[in-house]
Symmetry: C2
C-alpha cells in the first residue's frame, strides 16, 4: 500500500469544510501562515484553504517535497512568484465555481448603477420623494475585459438581458461564440470610448496590471461606468478615484481594490457614485462545500496518477483552455 | 373639411412634449385639474398628460361631448369610476411603453436584494470591510402577479437570467408561453410558500386590491422578498410593513404605495431591508417623447375613423388582449 500523501492546509481562521474526509485520504497538517515554514518540509501538497492568505513565497525554501499547490480561488496572482514558476510544482485553482455568482454580481451592479438605486437609498434615508430619470440596459454596450470562464459567463448573462457585449483579451479576434468581437488589450484606449459599461474580469498578470489606465479612463464616455470584479490592481486606482470624484466618469461598482481590506483612509468609501463591496462577488462563503468537493476530486485524481483538473499556466497566470 | 377635434390636456406642471404638433391636429385646451370643469365642455378628447393628477371624476358632469380619454400610463385605476364605466367614452392607455424599463427595474430590485447591496452601502458609509453571504438568482423561483404586458416582459427577462418563473392571474391555466403555470389569484395564500420572490405587476382593480394580504404574507417563506411595481394598494401595506419589521419577510423593493408621495411619517422609509423608490420603475421621465408619439398615432386613427389602439376594458380595468 502506498503511503498517504502529506497535505499542508493553510487554514487561517477558516473552519476547513471536509476536513474529516481529507484526513481519511491524506496526512493533514493544518497551519496558519506563520506556521507554514514548519508545515511544508515533507509535504507533497499545499492546500491554500485560506486563499486570501499571504506567506507562501516567504515559506518557499521549506517546500522541499512539494508537487502540487491548490488555491480554491479564481485568481492566483499571489502565487505568480518566480521560484514557483521555475519549479515543477503544479498549481491548480477553483475555475468555474465562481463564474455564475460573479456574473450575477456584475449584472446587479450594472442595474444598481443604471437605475441609480444609490440615489434612491439616499433619498430614502432623507424620507425624500423625488423622481429621477434612469437608464435602460437594453441596447447599451458593454466591454468585458477577461475572456476566461468568469468573463464568458458574464458575457452570456449580459447578452441574455439585451446588452451588446464585446470582449477584450490578449489578442484581437472575431467570431467568438460569447463575445463576437474581442479587442486586444493593447487597443484599450482606442476602443474604450465606444462603451456604456466596462467590466474588469481578467486575471492579474504582469500584462494586465494597470490595464484601466489614466489614458483609458480619459477615453471613456463621461456617462460610462466601470465594474471591477477581477483584481484591484487591474485599474490605476488613484486615476479611477480622480475620474469618479471629478465626474469624468459617471460611476463604478468596485468589489476589489489595490489593498484589501480597503483602508479606512481611502477616498473611494465616500464617493456617492461608487458602490463598494468587500470582495464578495464570487460568494465564496456559500460555496465552501463546492470548493472542498473540487479539491477532494482533484486529490483523488492525484492519488490515482490521473491528470489534475484546472492546472494554471504559471507563465500566463491562469488556466489556459 | 371636418372641424378639428377639441382636446382638453390636463398638463399639471409638466411641459407637454409634442404640443406644437398637437396644435396642428386639434384645438388644444391646456388646463390643470382645477381648470378641468371649465375646459371639458365641448371637448371631444381628454388627454391626461399629467397622469398622476386627480380630478377627472369631480369634473365629470362637465364632460358633455367627451368621446375619448387617453392616459399615458399603464395603470388606469383612478379612472375606474362608475360614471365613466357606464358611459360610451373610450379609455386608452400607454400599454407597452413601460414594459421593458419596469422589467429591468424588477430584475435590478431582485439582484439588489439577493446580493444585499443595501448592506454593502451601509458598510460603505461606515467604512467597514466585512464579508457576508449572498443569494443566487439562478434556480430561484419567482411568482409574477399580473399577466399583462408588464408581467409578461418581466417574466421573459427573469426567465432569461435563469429564474424559474410562474404567473398569477384571474384564472388558473397551464402551458402559458411566458409563465408556464398561471395560478388563480384566489389561490395566492395556498401557493405563496413556494417562491423565493413575489413580484406584483398587476393592475389595481376591485379584484386585485389587497391581493398581498396578511394571510398571503403569513404563508410566504421567511427568506422570501416582495417587489411591487404595480400599485401600492395591491398589498395590505400595513401588514407588509409589519412582516418586514419583524423579519417575518426578508425584504422588499417598493416602487408604489397606498399614498403617494409616501408620507414622511411612513415607517417603510426607515426599514433597512426595504428599498423605497419614488414610482419610477417605468422611467416615464425618459419616455415622454414615446408617450407623446403614441397619443399622436392614436389621434391620427381617431381622426381617420380607424379603431383606437390600447382600449381599456372599463369593466376589467385593463387592456384585454
Amino acid at each position: 500500500m502506498q503511503p498517504q500523501p502529506v497535505i499542508a492546509v493553510l487554514a487561517g481562521n477558516r473552519p476547513i469544510v471536509g476536513l474529516a474526509e481529507l484526513e481519511r485520504e491524506a496526512e493533514v497538517r493544518v497551519t496558519d501562515a506563520a506556521g507554514l515554514p514548519a508545515a511544508l518540509p515533507g509535504a507533497d501538497i499545499l492546500y491554500l484553504w485560506d486563499f486570501f492568505a499571504d506567506g507562501v513565497r516567504q515559506a518557499w525554501p521549506a517546500a522541499d517535497s512539494l508537487r502540487w499547490i491548490h488555491v480554491p480561488a479564481a485568481g492566483v496572482d499571489k502565487l505568480l512568484f518566480p521560484e514557483l514558476a521555475a519549479s515543477d510544482v503544479v498549481l491548480t485553482n477553483a475555475r468555474g465555481i465562481f463564474d455564475r455568482p460573479m456574473a450575477e454580481h456584475v449584472l446587479g451592479a450594472l442595474l444598481h448603477l443604471a437605475k441609480d438605486f444609490g440615489r434612491a437609498a439616499a433619498q430614502q434615508r432623507a424620507r425624500q420623494w423625488s423622481h429621477y430619470g434612469t437608464a435602460d440596459l437594453a441596447g447599451a454596450s458593454v466591454l468585458v475585459a477577461g475572456t476566461g470562464s468568469i468573463g464568458r459567463t458574464t458575457a452570456q448573462l449580459l447578452t441574455a438581458v439585451g446588452l451588446h457585449v464585446e470582449g477584450m483579451g490578449r489578442t484581437a479576434r472575431s467570431g467568438d461564440p460569447d463575445f463576437g468581437t474581442i479587442h486586444a488589450s493593447a487597443d484599450f484606449a482606442v476602443v474604450a470610448g465606444q462603451y456604456d459599461y466596462i467590466v474588469l474580469a481578467a486575471p492579474l498578470t504582469p500584462q494586465t496590471r494597470g490595464l484601466l489606465s489614466r489614458d483609458v479612463l480619459a477615453a471613456m464616455k463621461p456617462t460610462a461606468v466601470v465594474v471591477n470584479v477581477g483584481r484591484g490592481a487591474l485599474a490605476d486606482e488613484s486615476a479611477l478615484e480622480d475620474a469618479l470624484r471629478t465626474g469624468r466618469l459617471a460611476g463604478a461598482a468596485l468589489d476589489v481594490f489595490e489593498a484589501e481590506p480597503l483602508p479606512v483612509s481611502s477616498g473611494l468609501w465616500e464617493l456617492e457614485n461608487v458602490l463598494v463591496t468587500p470582495h464578495l462577488s464570487g460568494d465564496a462563503q456559500n460555496r465552501l462545500p463546492a470548493l472542498a468537493r473540487q479539491f477532494a476530486d482533484n486529490l483523488a485524481a492525484y492519488k490515482a496518477g490521473r491528470p489534475l483538473a484546472n492546472v494554471v499556466d504559471k507563465r500566463l497566470g491562469f488556466v489556459s483552455a
